[in-house]
Amino acid sequence: MDFLIFLIVALPLAGFLELLFFGKRIGEPGAGYVASATVGISFVLALIAGFDFLQGGEHGRTVELFAWIPSLGLNATFLWDPLSAMMTLVVTGVGALIHIYSIGYMHGDPGFGRFFTYMNLFITSMLLLVLGANFGILFVGWELVGLSSYLLISFWFEKPSAAAAGKKAFVVNRIGDFGFLIALMLIFNSFGSLDYGSVFEGAEATLTAGTATAIALLLLVGAAGKSAQLPLYVWLPDAMEGPTPVSALIHAATMVTAGVYMVARTGALFELSSVAGAVVTTVGALTAFYAATIAIGQRDIKRVLAYSTISQLGYMFMGVGALALVGGVFHLVTHAFFKALLFLGAGSVIHAMAGEQDMGKMGGLRKKVPVTFATMVIAWIAISGIPPFAGFWSKDEILASVFNRGGGYIVLWAVGIVTAGLTAFYMSRMMFLTFWGEPRWDDGVVPHESPRSMTVPLLALAGLSAVGGLINTPWRPALEHFLEPSFELVDQTHLPEAGVQVALAAVSIAAGVIGLLVAYRRYVSRATQLEEGGRWDTLLAGYHVDDLYGRTIVAPGKAAADVMAFTADAKLVDGAVNGMGGLVNWAGRILSKLQTGMVRSYGLGILGGVVGVVVWLLVAGGGF
């Protein structure tokens, strides 16, 4: 069993190493097969290893591999419990599908082998992240997914915008990590260990409310960086420079949910601070609403989905922040299905349109790419919150739990409902502009359905998006039972009574339907074209936040560095050093005047000195 769990990580790692050293030789399509096979086998192994948890009550095990930094309580240890098992299944399952899809999508790219090398590196890192049994391994995975994300976003590095986007993603994530690191310092300071077990079990006895709040908020900073929440979300839209499967795998289904996973995993710490919980929920709600408004104004099909991802991640944060941990994680799973599907579908559309991503040049694609269209419709309904598709169950569980917390949380619930309406609207807008209406294609573009390797994963994900929500329904909360051992330390928020639940569900369904109908009227009945000008431009530019950050943080920062480097360092600090040298030089030049070259004048000087000393001795010593 332990070996099995080791293999789950080791296989993608082996795949990565093989491709790293022999990727060029293996070439296309072998590299894709190697990568997909390793991830696929990992998925199967995870299924086998996770079987025990289905009975419920099983706590899982830790698998210790070797001592890493023993004095910090950090060992290379895996924790195989229901939560990590579920995350592993999502990562390897969705990962394997996207790998297979990529074999078709990346066909003919000169970097084919490199692509799959990075993809396997990502899977390995993500597995480390979710399987780590202490904050150290979590952080290793946390940073390594950042690295893979950097590599994959700037995969087409010849494009300056792609390279810049990769760097931006890594740097913004690092700002989040800054908070994460400080949280780790605080945790180590409080517990003397970074091991999950000792931290979570000792948390209530050890931590004061202040420390707990500090730790939780700092962890939130880290989570906000990785999961693209306000105000650190700016890297995610730019991350769409990467190949579309990357956007699906990393920037929708898995990596960006790491923050949600982390908050859920450390629920025992968040529970101790009502402030932190409220902050997480508020950040989530605001991000959900804010990103949804921006998504409305996008032209690029992938950027719509990017902002949509930010918005959906906001929902997950609302869930875990309100201590509806199961709800948050549940939405993580269903979102992985339907958002991966949307991205892969978008990729299929882009593929069909020969690389065109502007919705202004699409339209009327329904008949041309039927499989893509059909599967995307399922994802569209799922994300819009229409039952019985996946998104409805998870989003509603979150919203109902938030509502059940009462007080100020009801305001946040209302924000969530409005966002649900906006979500339905912008997703419908995207679908209508892409698949309905008159074709607005560029000359020479002949849309065609994608190859089998791409459509099969679409179909699989469509199936999951359709029925995936049924794993946790109010009357049969299987996921909740499954995850119970992982969350037993946390007193979770429960769902309201059945009657209230139904009422709340009705409201949120209504919001979704209204969003759909408004969009239908606008884009189908009135055939509104892609909007331009005025406020739409503001939305398109994401409220110009990038400019704002550029003007208020980046530019002053660079100016300050310039001052430090070329004024303070070169003139002041080094000036002082060279000034000292200059002083000595100057003194030497003055004093060298004494050296006349006249030997006899030196002699006179010596004689004068001798006489002086003798006289001084006579006077001071009292004489003979």
Binding site: L72, G136, F170
Partner: protein
Amino acid sequence: MHSTFPVIALLVLLPTVGAVVVGLLPKSRRELVLPIATALSTLPLAVALYILWEFSATDGAAFQFTESVSWYEPWGIGWNVGIDGISLLLITLTAILFPLSILASTSVVKDVKLFMVSMLLLETGLLGVFVSLDLLLFFVFFEMTLVPMYLLIGIWGSENRVYAAIKFFLYTALGSALLLTGIVALAVMYGNETGTISFAFQDLLGLELSANAQLWLFLGFGAAFAIKVPLFPFHTWLPDAHTEAPTAGSVILAGVLLKLGTYGFVRFNLTLFPEATVRLAPWLAGLAVVGIIYGAAVAIVQPDVKRLVAYSSVSHLGFIVLGTFALTSQGLQGGVIQMVNHGLTTGALFLLVGMIYERRHTRQISDYGGLAGVMPLFAGVFLFMAFASIGLPGLNGFIGEFKILLGSYLAFPVMAILAASGVVLAAIYLLWAYERMFTGPVTNAANAGLKDLNARELTILVPIALLVVLLGIYPKPALDRIEPAVENIIERIEEATGHESPEFGRIDDLPAATGENSP
């Protein structure tokens, strides 16, 4: 302790013997110089590996392989050498970096023999510093590194080499003068106390010094070490020296020479002047933090890639000093392992910059662009080393930084938090430089035909890369050897001063900014 064979003497003197051999090579066979020098420089490596193998980790606190030959009995001067866990890693690092940097010196054409002789003498000096247990011997080796490095910069450097060499020499010699004064004063004080003067480290450890004497001696020793590290604001010799030095010089300068400063602090200041250490620790930690942020900020805007790496050293060495003066076991362990890590990664970055300089003869970042397409292997290795330097977990840089941050938080929470921002800045300066040099289209035609790494260059880089991964994933063997030595030092400080090295679990010591401590 294992045998009576003077293995340390062999280690230290082998490079000198090598220097003599190289010096005797006939002038007409200059093509032989590099291979022979490389081969000769692997001999100390073999001895170092033997020591590494034979070193007893459980006894890591004690000095092992000790040799003691008296030279001038009345003053207690002699060949007193020994190796503990801290010196063990540093001599290994030194012995590894020398063959690699000599092998990287193919572009040296002027006076190859003198170059190699300088390198090998430099190696003797550096190895000697790390094994000396006699302060005068230490000083001799400490100074012995100065002349070969001066020659390396001054003869084989680039345009501004004379300025840089003189600045390096004078600046560090100034520190050395204060160091020598301190050493002599200490020995004389010992003489006043016991009747016999002694320079032996073990004798001096037993000396009880007044708080005032400790303070002045600490400052004397500290001045030399602070310049060597270099600690802000004594760092300005470094960018000039690093930038102008030939590749091998930069590698050794950054990889090993800077560690003389941090090693000196750990070995002598902490143990000989514990009271002054406790008193001055906040100040030194403060300077270190300034250095971390300042060095990183200045690195961001450097137009010259070699200068950028040089300033990154200022930032990284700040981490080491911060960890050292946190006076916690974790911090100090982190500091020591970070000495090795920085030596490997920054050494590798200088090697890489040297390799690209040999091809294009420019260090300006703006002259490059799009290299990843032209030389993918080179770009990959560069990025790998950059991430190691940034402190990516799983690679070596992280281990040290993480321990330093956790360890120093226990002592100086606010400073540790400020230092953590260096982690963000490191990502900015290295990735921005990578972006400008390696990505985008090839804009300069001169870059289009550049050749990727050849077999010799890979031979140089692969061992470093392997160590970077090994120390990142399985640092335990190294940490096991450092830990007892570090604990020993911390215990000594605690015993001598009553200062309590902060441990974890002090929840009441949160900085005020993080909130109320009500239960």
